[in-house]
Amino acid sequence: MFDSFDPLKGKMLRILDERGKVLKAGQKWMPELSDEELVDGYRAMVRARVADERAVSYQRQGRIFTLPTNIGQEASAVGTIKALRPDDWMVQSYRELGGVLAKGGTVKNHLAYFSGSETGSVHPGNPRLLPLSVPITSQVTHAAGIGHSIVYRGGDEVAITFFGDGGTSQGDFNEGLNWAAVYKCPVIFVCNNNQYAISLGRAAQTGSETLAQKAVAFGMPGMIVDGNDYLAVVAATRAAAEHGRAGKGPVLLEMYTYRMGAHTTSDDPSIYRSKEEEESWLAKDPLIRMKAFMVERKLWDEDKEEALRKEMGAECDEAMREVENMDPTPVEDIFRYQYESMPPELERQMQDYKAFLAWKESR
């Protein structure tokens, strides 16, 4: 597949057009997906969308802190993870809620994290999912190491990692992709090109015409995928995973998409982009497209949509309530996880702080 989509020739993998019709050129690449799988994938995208929308409103209500959303990028987040196996590793940045949930994460833990609790960094049952990574692109090196470990142990899992268009400018982009290519680590590097790094537009981020072509620097395949096309995302990820499992090393996928929301709830996109631009992308919403495809196939209808959104909304509200009822972070938890066993000085600091709390109480 990668040979057929040379980014230097401006090729992009697309299967659905914007109205959800299978493109002629896309038919060939249509991934095999059962009806259940299609429904499952679509439901997962809606779940992420609803969770994001609710989270934004919780944030506005002052119930959680600043957070980024995945809105507009659900096809990439969900499609990639759905194309992989549970024993594959996911190394996220911070804008892949759809993938996190698909990987086994919970809305509750997501909300707990953005309510300021470390307990939300990880998820029940400990899926192979690293905590979100704040320093841009640093996480791609972790995926390289996980891939290295897989090769060392002779496994056939893969690692998938996500970063943004802005992330390609960091040093770790070079170091991480190079490592994976040298040791032929089974890593899928997913660059979610959502056209912005906070306020900086894609064109000002780098001189290269596409991001996928950066793969040339590492001697690995690189491909542009319509990141708003769930089926294209699944097809590309499957191909990349096969490539990795076959011992052929890493792949770079540029998911061409759009950050429909603000960078985070603290951001004001009106400063740096036009309403017209935003509106032009509304029609490309990955959910609209997939829904049309599903409706056409009689797998989906408005009633189901409404029911699903209601169900998901209730799940979120319930999760939010649970998070609000969580106990505050115990003092001990600030100290006990820094090392396997608490060094004496840390123990002293904790005891002194507890003594202070008691003193304060007694004043």
Partner: protein
């Protein structure tokens, strides 16, 4: 005299210097068009154009490295690092080039660069958005490290920093970016680097703080006064070079030293101050110096943050302990 908050005072200093000197460029991630995520540089691109004030790719190492390249050709770059927690990717440039160029080239090449970055906790932020690691930078030979605590100082210190022919790391206490206003002269003025200021005279104890912790210190000191302890409060203002004399003079008078900072306690700024006082004025010490600091842990996420951040009460608690010693 207009009343300005910290953000306005910094913006004003930047505007004055940009207007004055064409060799000054200002850049950073999102620092141009939108004026930075805290809007500290708001309006500057509109005033000075995209050549002078610009957004950069997301890459801290080259922010400093390119800044150094500009500097050796005679420009005077002002670089913004979006949060101090994102300085680490640029650490190599900072430690091995920016801070060393003058010495290793025997003064032939210099780096008159100002690096601004918001630091510190208390704003309920994400991971790595609340760091306070000034001690690390203070330990790097060749850097000057400056932390203002109020609008007036911020403007004067920043102008001094920009005019310094040495690289200056200018750490901005984001917690108090918009907390309060002060009268700030419209014209340029300088607050010298390397000079602490005694913001309150007192007889019983010397409390040294800086940055956002000065607000905490002030509250504590007021309360302490009510409870009968007369604290002398020093705003350190510069982490390196430290103003030894102001601190020493004060401790010689009060006989007691307490240092307050957000950064982790061990190997923190407080330790150096205590050591200086030991070396020069030990015989004046009437009680063991006290440190009120962050813990030797990472900054907790918001739900635990209030435990981590020093409070006026923690200062009062330490004062009480100190008094207990005297008895």
């Amino acid at each position: 005299m207009p009343a300005m908050n910290l953000v306005q005072a910094i913006n004003n200093a930047l505007e004055i210097k940009l207007r004055e000197d064409e060799d000054i460029l200002l850049f950073g991630e999102d620092a141009g068009l939108e004026g930075g995520v805290f809007r500290v540089t708001q309006g500057l691109q509109a005033k000075f154009g995209e050549r002078r004030v610009f957004d950069t790719p997301l890459s801290e190492s080259v922010l400093l490295g390119a800044g150094l390249g500009m500097a050796v050709t005679g420009l005077r770059p002002i670089v913004e690092i979006q949060f101090s927690g994102f300085m680490y990717p640029a650490m190599n440039q900072l430690v091995t080039h920016v801070s060393r160029m003058r010495n290793r080239s025997r003064g032939v090449f210099t780096v008159p660069m100002t690096i601004r970055m918001p630091y510190g906790g208390g704003i309920r932020a994400l991971e790595l958005h609340s760091e306070s690691m000034e001690a690390i930078y203070g330990h790097v030979p060749g850097l000057k490290v400056v932390i203002p605590s109020c609008p007036y100082d911020a403007k004067g210190l920043l102008i001094s920093a920009i005019e310094s022919n040495d690289p200056v790391l200018f750490m901005e206490p984001k917690k108090i970016y918009r907390s309060f206003r002060q009268d700030v002269p419209e014209e340029a003025y300088r607050v010298p680097l390397g000079k602490a200021s005694v913001t309150r005279q007192g007889e019983d104890l010397t409390l040294v703080a800086y940055g956002a912790m000065m607000r905490v210190a002030s509250k504590a000191v007021e309360q302490a006064a009510k409870e009968g302890t007369d604290v002398e409060l020093i705003d350190l203002r510069t982490i390196y070079p430290l103003d030894r004399e102001t601190v020493l003079d004060s401790v010689r008078k009060t006989g007691r030293l307490m240092v307050l900072h957000e950064g982790p306690k061990t190997f923190g700024v407080a330790a150096e101050l205590i050591s200086i006082v030991n070396e020069e004025a030990m015989e004046y010490l009437e009680a063991p110096p006290q440190r009120v600091c962050g813990f030797d842990t990472i900054m907790p996420l918001p739900m635990g943050e209030d435990h981590y951040m020093p409070t006026p009460e923690r200062v009062l608690y330490a004062i009480e302990k100190m008094k207990a010693f005297a008895e």
